[in-house]
Symmetry: D2
Subunit: 427 residues, 4 copies
Amino acid sequence: MSTVTYSKPPDSSLSYFKEKYQRVRNQSLRLCAPLEKEDMVVQPVVDVSPPKWHLGHTTWFFEKMILETHAKNYQVYHPEFNFVFNSYYESIGKRVLRTDRGNLTRPTTEEIYKYRAYVDEQMLAFLNTTTDLNPEIANLLELGLQHEQQHQELLVYDIKYILGNNPLFPAYTPKETIPTTESRPLVFLPISAGNYTIGHQQEGFCFDNELGVHQVYLHDYEVGDRLITNGEYLEFIEAGGYQDFRHWYMEGWAWVQENKETAPMHWHQIDNEWHQYTFFGLQKLNLHEPVTHVSHYEAAAFAQWKGMRLPTEFEWEVACRTHEATIHPEANFIENAALSTLGATEGHYQFYGDVWEWTNSAYLPYPFFKTKEGAIGEYNGKFMINQMVLKGGSFATPKDHVRSSYRNFFHPQLKWHFTGIRLAKHV
Amino acid sequence: MSTVTYSKPPDSSLSYFKEKYQRVRNQSLRLCAPLEKEDMVVQPVVDVSPPKWHLGHTTWFFEKMILETHAKNYQVYHPEFNFVFNSYYESIGKRVLRTDRGNLTRPTTEEIYKYRAYVDEQMLAFLNTTTDLNPEIANLLELGLQHEQQHQELLVYDIKYILGNNPLFPAYTPKETIPTTESRPLVFLPISAGNYTIGHQQEGFCFDNELGVHQVYLHDYEVGDRLITNGEYLEFIEAGGYQDFRHWYMEGWAWVQENKETAPMHWHQIDNEWHQYTFFGLQKLNLHEPVTHVSHYEAAAFAQWKGMRLPTEFEWEVACRTHEATIHPEANFIENAALSTLGATEGHYQFYGDVWEWTNSAYLPYPFFKTKEGAIGEYNGKFMINQMVLKGGSFATPKDHVRSSYRNFFHPQLKWHFTGIRLAKHV
Amino acid sequence: MSTVTYSKPPDSSLSYFKEKYQRVRNQSLRLCAPLEKEDMVVQPVVDVSPPKWHLGHTTWFFEKMILETHAKNYQVYHPEFNFVFNSYYESIGKRVLRTDRGNLTRPTTEEIYKYRAYVDEQMLAFLNTTTDLNPEIANLLELGLQHEQQHQELLVYDIKYILGNNPLFPAYTPKETIPTTESRPLVFLPISAGNYTIGHQQEGFCFDNELGVHQVYLHDYEVGDRLITNGEYLEFIEAGGYQDFRHWYMEGWAWVQENKETAPMHWHQIDNEWHQYTFFGLQKLNLHEPVTHVSHYEAAAFAQWKGMRLPTEFEWEVACRTHEATIHPEANFIENAALSTLGATEGHYQFYGDVWEWTNSAYLPYPFFKTKEGAIGEYNGKFMINQMVLKGGSFATPKDHVRSSYRNFFHPQLKWHFTGIRLAKHV
Amino acid sequence: MSTVTYSKPPDSSLSYFKEKYQRVRNQSLRLCAPLEKEDMVVQPVVDVSPPKWHLGHTTWFFEKMILETHAKNYQVYHPEFNFVFNSYYESIGKRVLRTDRGNLTRPTTEEIYKYRAYVDEQMLAFLNTTTDLNPEIANLLELGLQHEQQHQELLVYDIKYILGNNPLFPAYTPKETIPTTESRPLVFLPISAGNYTIGHQQEGFCFDNELGVHQVYLHDYEVGDRLITNGEYLEFIEAGGYQDFRHWYMEGWAWVQENKETAPMHWHQIDNEWHQYTFFGLQKLNLHEPVTHVSHYEAAAFAQWKGMRLPTEFEWEVACRTHEATIHPEANFIENAALSTLGATEGHYQFYGDVWEWTNSAYLPYPFFKTKEGAIGEYNGKFMINQMVLKGGSFATPKDHVRSSYRNFFHPQLKWHFTGIRLAKHV
């Protein structure tokens, strides 16, 4: 258990990276294609980043971490871009304060596209001229691609926030999926008490926070066999859930009062009917699809109102491995292009895709967790305080990006991302 | 004195308005032409508005105040634009909170250009089919054009703020004027004690805050025969002006401490040399041109350090009328296209143009001031608290927009606009 | 006009100062006598100072300005008290931040009483051994006493705030005055246009901000012959005054919204009946007594609703001198011990006493105003921005402290002090 | 495992409660005895409560929870005290906002002492007339006493904050203990991997958050055999620990920057020598005593700098039970009256007393945790977000109040309480 390798790319061959590099890089452009240039610039709240910043920042990662250090005679594209596109890597230089990102109208989107083209050209030249990828570079390459996939997901959240908070409620794309029209009854899946192994145990890449495979003891418990729907959450609202402090953490209750919270984000009550801003514009609320855009406070209050609780990350991981050992074919990932939550069909437990499921585990280091030296070491460990773990991926996650040991994490008050609820209980 | 007309357009003929309408409206587009679409969107601080918002808001004014009310069968361009482009007219509807403007990526610039084209077409059709302009409409037309000119000036401030706070320091336009290379000695112009008439006494348009022509008694005084230069202000900095509380109002001193103020806005000390962001990019500080981008706190502290003071708005108005009765041919207005302060040549006292001069008068109603009924009445009176009067116009002001009685006003801590300093003293 | 003396004590003789010193110093103690020790400590909002701090600070003024500099072999009472009891005199040392005052439980009230006794003993010894008061010391003595009188007035405001914001609404003292039961109709007093002399023209002490006697021209105007009553102000409330933005400055309206303002401070609507916290506890609102605890925003909105305005400080001063040249015997000052506003009787115009009257003049320097050198020079000039002038004194003002040229000043949003409204209009 | 009783008083006999009630209640008065009345009132920061509020609130608990409900004909002392002394029990009534506590000068300390005397008299009468304590009342009684003990500890923190932030640095009491003059080398105590039982397994009272006895699996680990000393922490400071972001959580680093943190609370560097405010006044820093007044951020940064980590709450509990099964006779609790941390002697591991030890466990519910119905149910569960667990008690904790399963919890940025550091590591 004492020596762990940071990441294990499934295939360190150059052909693997050449294919994946182009596929992942193109996906970022594809996601931005439906946007207007104006949409690329703004940062309406501190958690949202401007789309063009995501495009620049993910490019900067490859320039800084690979080309500058490992490509012979590499010429930096622009001396100021390190300053502009760095995010929180304190070891690399004075970063742009996160709240200022939305005021940087330059470099323009056009210029950033040129920057991407330049770096992509250099990266492919680098991959074409290299005969042997050493493990350090292979790790950095894989990390850069995983990092870009993470930003693609954030990009989708941020696009929804930017368009959904515009009084014109513009659609991002026309709707193509057929709305779910019914939901099956909620049933609980049992898991027996015992010691379980937690963490990344397969081949392939993982983040440092999944390493430190270790044992946990779990008592008998059960988890819901699907996600909570909009309809079920609406019952909580209609039962006065947002008016009764007894369901809430003290901080959650203060958050409700201060922000006058009454519903998930992007819900709008218009003429006494509930609507939801979606990527297809404003739509009537679909009662049979999983609820999303709830904070941890709301997820926990809902569970408390139901007399149950959220699962721990360990319970979730074991339940997922037990009941959905391989990803269900209907799992709703970005490749689906549904851009929406979807109802659970028979036998589909929705552990993967649709929405990230809030667990009741704080984001803390696993036993044996070690921070790497240097800038790469800043990746995950520095966030291990005051955040909660989410599991399973969302409809904005690339399918090859997630796994049962993947630990996502956010502050409990956040809800601009695609979050959801699975219930758990002791027997 | 008891009946005043709200405004007196110099020529109520249709031809006057047709010409002016097209000239003023085109000027807004011309000012935005050098910008990228990204520049059109953002609101980096609350006082700055997005350029595309200025374009929409000034258009909305004509749609709302004239076309909707006075043009037969007028079809509103978009039902939500009233909500999006209203500013502070509380009587007309729920406004967009000022701080949210910079998050509205839609309507896009393109869409706003279409909106402008539609309204312009309708306005010209209206002017072409009207045979007789009644005074109410004439007043509204003139007000709409004056209003657009005010926003053109704000637009220039805001563009400078947006570009000048970008770490790439992009130029708005290439430099065309020849830098001033010397400044003449400061001499004081005397004015004798006596009763003077203040306010708008000529023909032609004025704002409601200039009405109420009245008498003030002034004691003997003198004012400087030119604006204070960058060089003179630099002496204040180098004498430790920002470190000595004795020169400052208590609030000014708190403002210096809290914001770590050390120089006018857009000044940067790089390798021990002072630079200034200008519309032509970052340049070495020109010591012979008027200082600008100073708050009232800084202007007052400078004057206090010199053992003098700022003139009152009454002293300024009388000095201007006495010594620069007609606008000097070298007065530096937007038509000059200098886009920069310029040094004072022999015999040019710079009362008009270059920079708005902070006075030591609070912005208060003149005797006999009356607020008009309705939305138009919200124009000026509601700001008459906690602001200071500025006089004379700037290099961003249209020449036909300003006059000696014109009262501009801003909060004393602001400095993103083109402000400057003229000294005064008692004999 | 060019040389002014800073202050002119009416009588520089030692006997004058010995008597006044003891009288003024005792009054501070008398005001605190009804308080509990707990009341002496707190600072519930930034504008309120703890009563024990007032006692210490006024004492420190004599120690620092007179004893330390002018009394031979004077031994400072405690080396840290300069740090603790300094207020805003930046030239003397690092001050305690104003917001921290309410956390300083030591020195205790008891200790401060000892400090006062020590300084008083030393001051009287100094006065007894001095044979000749030079003008500098006489000026400082007078200033110290005037300063203590100012703090006595603040002390009364602060006591009311501290007790009136306690849910137990404790009385400070039993009620002794008979409530006013009717109010006479409001009549307007005319003043003719002309040049008037403004500023301190009599013998005797004045503050530096009253110096610079100068001319102002006033047009014909009229002012109300008494203060506005609670009953008249209640009509404004009942007419929806706090719900209609048209009466308010834009900043005033924002202030109403943000603070959910609905009435003067210390008014409470209990079971549909209006009550008022007074120094005698919670009482039913007396409709015939002058309204107090209104901000400038509220005073201005009331006047606007009435179709009138507030007088300027110049109009007030001239009207007072014209119509109440000598202080009316019924003027309601602290010596009255009414501790409440009182209704206006026949022929009593209430220019003096009762409540400080908000004017529509910003607090700005008079022509010829000069800041004194040194710490004393910090007295008034540094506040001459963003504040409004009030005139006439209140029921908490010592009678010998006020005069027609006295310029009090506060920020327009404040209302914990005894403010009131007099209407004015042009003919 | 499925039925747990909420609390198990060690002895439900009336004599047990009569003795404990008087002992605990007197202790609160004893702690306040050295204070001045002025010290009783203030709330310098939101986390500190005024001492007199602690006295009132703990009394209110007995009045509200026992006398009002269970004592026949009980007469409430004052109808407003429920409003004034309620803390966060949302089910009982509108609470006083926490930040307002420090402005309530009334009821006075004297009045609160009377309130205590009244309630004590009634409680003892109730205990004397009751012949049989039913379990519900016994539980409430025990809870009330435990609650008062918790407030006694907070009282000690708050007193230190109030006096220690006064520029006069007043002593609370004279120093009586002999300073520690050396510290023994740090040795690590090993624990073997395996399943361990966690939670309250003994007889006697516990809080609801300790219930739900459950299994956890622990891997091999080691913990330090004593607390970290001031001297060891000083090495971290001198090695630039507060200037190097790599040791810190991102939030911790932001906290350091924003608050300009450079040392534990109450440390002062005077003339290049470190001092510490203690209950005996300002003293030279004792290098051999345990460091205290560090936030979780600081504790975690220190551990990271040492290449180690903090133990989890489970590791701590098992290590304590393994190595200090019974409380060491030198354990430093409030009964010691040391009022200071003390050095570790041979064989004394300091698990109990001295300082609360930050663990790296978030405060989350144990498996099977159940919230009780009603106001009592608000006790602990509502805080289970964003806080970290601390273990072991401090020199301000009553010895009979703590046990190995006791879970204290605070937000990670807090440091006004008596916190400390024990290191842990994997083998």
